[in-house]
């Protein structure tokens, strides 16, 4: 299998603060990879390392086989990069910025850019600095799609966008992903949008990497059980059966990678009396919160 991105044994510290240790993942060509985590768990750090804007404390990232710390112009031409907050050259207007970027990319597709700009209903001489956050996001999206890159790196594309613009963004991303041989690396803290988009995920927490697996496998294996305890509320701790737990009065929400039968046996082995034991269906966002906790 051909990998577009390979991160090997990535460890990073800011001063003495560990961001993560020994992060490993590979992104196969043509896949949509989500790096998920709450704010401050190292998503942007990883994006910065991938783009060569940050030297990791140890480990390395390879993009198209090149070390991300020294990407050649030819490799950078194959990567579309969306900065967090949809940052672009705001002193330009939408005509000037299209003219500027088109000079760098031989496969430049101006139709897709102007198609998105038409939706904005702004004049071609409107400066980007005078646009709303949603409009700026469309300019940034139009520019990276017009590049026709082989790899798209999107740093929290959903930041500051209302649901309409998020949906529009996703619709175009999905179309892009359908094209042959395209790979997407996306980070986001709004998980619900990604459920139908990504096919592999790494979930980061403040303590490091919580999970790395295909989304379908994660949603199939990770379960949410709810039950009521009778008598004293048990002091359940995280272990190999209990991945996460929330107790409100005598209502227990238990998250686990084990089957219902295994969890029930586990509860019985601890002498816990319970009732109304049932599995609750989860969206990807529910599963993410179940795994990482609400705080």
């Amino acid at each position: 299998m051909e990998y577009v991105v390979e991160c090997n044994h990535l460890t990073h510290y800011y001063g003495k603060k560990l961001v993560y240790k020994d992060l490993n993942f590979k992104i196969p060509k043509g896949s949509i990879f989500g790096l998920l985590g709450k704010n401050g768990t190292g998503k942007t750090t990883t994006i910065n390392i991938l783009n060569g804007f940050l030297t990791p404390t140890s480990g390395e990232c390879l993009i198209f086989g090149e070390n991300s710390q020294n990407l050649s112009p030819e490799t950078k031409r194959r990567i579309g990069f969306l900065m967090e907050g949809h940052i672009q050259y705001s002193f330009m207007n939408i005509q000037q910025i299209e003219k500027f970027y088109s000079a760098f990319f031989p496969r430049w597709n101006k139709d897709i850019y102007w198609e998105l700009m038409k939706k904005l209903e702004v004049s071609s001489t409107q400066k980007i600095s005078r646009m709303s956050c949603g409009q700026r996001s469309q300019v940034a999206l139009g520019l990276i799609l017009a590049q026709d890159p082989d790899l798209l790196i999107l740093d929290d594309y959903s930041m500051g966008l209302d649901p309409g613009y998020r949906r529009l963004f996703l619709d175009y991303l999905t179309e892009y992903a359908k094209a042959e041989e395209k790979t997407i690396f996306v980070t986001s803290h709004i998980i619900q949008d990604l459920e139908k988009l990504i096919d592999y995920c790494v979930i980061l927490d403040y303590s490091g990497i919580l999970l790395s697996m295909p989304v379908e496998e994660f949603q199939r294996k990770f379960k949410h059980f709810r039950f009521q305890v009778e008598g004293n509320v048990p002091d359940l701790k995280k272990d190999e059966v209990v991945t996460n737990i929330e107790i409100i009065k005598n209502h227990v929400s238990l998250y686990s990678f084990k089957s219902a039968e295994e969890v029930e046996n586990y509860l019985k082995s601890l002498g816990i009396h319970y009732s109304d034991f049932h599995q609750v269906p989860m969206t990807l966002e529910d599963a993410f919160i179940g795994l990482t906790g609400k705080y």
């Binding site: 783009n51 950078k76 900065m83 940052i87 672009q88």
Partner: protein, 222 residues
């Protein structure tokens, strides 16, 4: 091929360039009006005596203009790059990062050169209208270090703005503030008549200093 980087930089710099250029011409006009006035009201021979033997610099009003121009151009050009880390967009372009930085400073330095050239050429014309050729060459030699200080100011401000850490920025500001002082030892005219080639070399050396700040930015120093 004409690099699109120049197009981007021009979009940022064009208004600042035109305003500073206009201001430089106004300063020249001011010198012309003052000179015309003084030569009418002071006896010409006596005025020439003051210029030659007492070292009166009728053009001292433009002493800090090139420096101000260099600092303004660098701020207008590089502040937008540092705001929200936009420099990452520039470094992500499919061009070698050092080449991008050098192209950026080359356009800024070129515009600074145009401003300085116009300022000095008009000053030479004004001087030539009232004084002999020897005075004109003396004026050029006297303003030359001020012009060079403008370039140092431009390169230094660009380097300081790209530098990611404030503590280092402040240290660099102090160093350059002290260094630029060397261009203003003007006890008399023609002070730099023999040393200006060395100052020119030092000024040119400053043009690549930005690469160091750019390297630190790319390596993620924060």
């Amino acid at each position: 091929m004409f690099s699109p980087i120049y197009y981007k930089e021009w979009l940022k710099l064009r208004w600042a360039f035109l305003i500073v250029l206009g201001f430089a011409l106004l300063m020249d006009l001011n010198i012309y009006l003052n000179l015309s006035h003084d030569i009418i009201f002071i006896e010409p021979k006596s005025y020439l005596y003051n210029v030659i033997f007492r070292g009166i610099k009728f053009y001292s009003g433009i002493q800090y203009l090139p420096l101000l121009s260099g600092i303004v151009l660098a701020i207008v050009q590089f502040y937008p790059e540092m705001h929200s880390d936009r420099l990452k967009l520039t470094f992500h372009l499919p061009v070698n990062e050092n080449r991008v930085l050098l192209q950026m400073v080359s356009l800024g330095a070129f515009l600074q050169f145009i401003i300085s050239l116009v300022l000095v050429l008009v000053l030479m014309l004004i001087t030539g209208k009232f004084f002999p050729g020897e005075v004109v060459s003396s004026v050029v030699l006297t303003v030359l270090p001020w012009v060079l200080a403008g370039f140092v100011g431009y390169f230094a401000t660009a380097m300081i703005l790209i530098e990611p850490i404030w503590k280092v920025r402040i240290i660099l500001m102090l160093i350059f503030y002290g260094f630029i002082g060397f261009f203003y030892f003007d006890f008399f005219y023609n002070t730099y008549a023999r040393s200006w080639p060395y100052f020119l070399l030092l000024t040119l050396a400053h043009s690549v200093f930005i690469l160091y700040s750019g390297y630190r930015f790319r390596r993620g120093v924060r």
